[in-house]
Symmetry: C2
Subunit: 185 residues, 2 copies
């Protein structure tokens, strides 16, 4: 494989997911992932810090949400703004439901991956809280809206994965938000 | 040290926390913790699975909350029941504020400990959701009430640690719950 490596990152992600599903996360090496993707190990480490990170795309999702949060209307309540920002991830998720299902079953089977997933969600909550404070929301409202928003996202994501009707994750986020409002009222 | 080891568990916890604070978590060995506590390494491993677990007391807190949840009035809303169960941990926390502050600064300084802390909270949310389903609460209300309750607890716990007036964690839980209700209304 020469220097010309179109979509090396995407190929590494697909190769890793295939291998993790076939032989388990623990029994897959970076060398094997690189080989299946047709790139060098060096290329793997240019894109990902380690074998776990290949499933999480760094902090791409958090950046997407924080970015979307910046363009939500200023008159929305903090929690509604967070929910709207989360809805904007629909284009990220809806096209990749089969990939997401396979990825989730790999994660659920491995405690180290479950840990990494929780870290990503917690760090997303922190980024969202930070972005809310930048909008002028004070604490504890900022922290609570961020944590509650991530709680809505967790529940919505699980339901989206299992939804036989294949409705958009945005629909599930709106439903989970309505349910949260109902349990807190 | 013979077989007579009164409160070996408590002494191990205090010794570990002292050593982690003095020289850092990574640079402390189980042998050193056992030595300072005046017990054998074997005794350490009879009480704790590893060096991280000594800071978390297994799932004691989750068991306490789930147990309290069982005796909350049946007519409370799921989230109010979770908040009341969380308030019952006040006796666990309020006496050990200095210990909790020291423990938290050790955890915050170490990514591996932060991960373990998030795992404990996520697993507490799962136990609480399970207990709510046992009460007859259906999903997504059960999952959302559990996640929202843990979000309330996280925010309340941070504010309790920093509270110069040293008010009970129960007060902070009630305040955080009221704030959650306000951001969702």
């Amino acid at each position: 494989m020469g220097r010309w490596e179109p979509d090396a990152k995407g190929r590494l992600e697909r190769a890793a997911l295939e291998l993790y599903a076939e032989r388990g996360f623990d029994d897959t090496t970076v060398a094997e992932i690189a080989e299946r993707a047709g790139v060098t190990e060096r290329t793997f480490f240019r894109h990902f810090a380690d074998k776990r990170e290949v499933l999480f795309r760094g902090d791409e999702l958090a950046l997407l949400v924080v970015d979307a949060l910046k363009s939500t209307p200023a008159d929305l309540s903090p929690l509604d703004a967070v929910a709207l920002a989360l809805e904007s991830t629909a284009s990220f998720f809806d096209d990749r439901r089969p990939h997401s299902k396979k990825r989730q079953s790999v994660i659920d089977a491995n405690p180290a991956l479950r840990e990494r997933e929780l870290i990503k969600l917690a760090s997303m909550a922190e980024s969202v809280a930070h972005a809310l404070r930048d909008r002028g929301v004070s604490d504890p409202a900022a922290g609570l809206s961020a944590e509650a928003g991530i709680a809505v996202f967790k529940v919505a994501f699980e339901r989206w994965l299992d939804d036989r009707a294949e409705r958009s994750i945005a629909v599930h986020i709106r439903e989970a938000l309505a349910e949260l409002k109902s349990v807190t009222s």
